[in-house]
């Protein structure tokens, strides 16, 4: 596909359940980011992947949150034992190799809206 895709687009779950959110980055993009957008907190960085490794996990809010990336492509964000405060839109972005300016534009997917009842 031409852009970043995310699935599911909407997810409703019950408190205490585990959920998995998927991100398919733009083909060939080596960097992948997860962000969270919620009413109270705005847009927050969660985790960054370069290839399959995650050198920056500083934004993960608790140990209930984890993410992995396989084959340098698809990434899955897993939230265990979901809480109501996890309700938010989870956005994924990807970027390619460094341009002349040394900074890589991030392209965002449409997001997954998570509702925890």
């Amino acid at each position: 596909g031409a852009g970043v895709s995310q699935s599911p687009s909407n997810k409703v779950t019950e408190k205490g359940k585990d959920v998995e959110l998927r991100c398919d980055p733009i083909s060939g993009h080596t960097a992948l980011y997860w962000y969270r957008q919620s009413l109270g907190q705005g847009l927050e960085f969660l985790i960054y992947f370069q290839g399959n490794s995650a050198p920056d996990k500083s934004g993960l809010p608790s140990d209930r949150f984890s993410a992995e990336r396989t084959g340098g492509s698809v990434s899955t964000l897993t939230i265990q034992r979901t809480q109501q405060e996890d309700s938010a839109v989870y956005l994924c972005a990807s970027s390619g190799t460094s341009g002349r300016a040394g900074y890589n534009e991030q392209f965002f997917g449409p997001g997954t809206r998570l509702t925890v009842l």
Binding site: G42, E44, S95, E105, F108
Partner: protein
């Protein structure tokens, strides 16, 4: 730590009028600055970016932004707003190293007829 402030939560502009959305950043090094737009139910779309060089940058949809180092500002402007510009606008600063984006809280633009 880096931060971005967008002081206006909501702005209402008449169609055809000019627009300026304010953004102030805090970052120790030379910043990489971005403006994104988010329409209802949509992801974030990049409007424009500043990396270096000319401080007035042009973007898509007729938007421009001016980087002012002395004021730590990167305000977004458009000379004539269209109804389709109604959306939420986010200013962001990109960090060096891992290059994550730090976003402001956003400004919701309403366009009145």
């Amino acid at each position: 730590a880096q931060s971005v402030t967008q002081p206006d939560i909501h702005i209402t502009v008449s169609e055809g009028a000019s627009l300026e959305l304010r953004c102030n950043y805090s970052y120790g090094a030379t910043p990489y600055l971005f403006w994104y737009v988010q329409s209802p139910g949509q992801g974030l779309q990049l409007l424009l970016k500043y990396f270096s060089g000319d401080t007035l940058v042009q973007g898509i949809k007729g938007f421009e932004a001016e980087f002012k180092r002395s004021q730590s500002s990167f305000n977004l402007r458009k000379p004539s707003v269209h109804w389709s510009d109604a959306a939420e606008y986010f200013c962001a600063v990109g960090t060096t190293g891992f290059q994550k984006l730090v976003f402001g809280t956003g400004t919701r633009l309403l366009v009145s007829p």
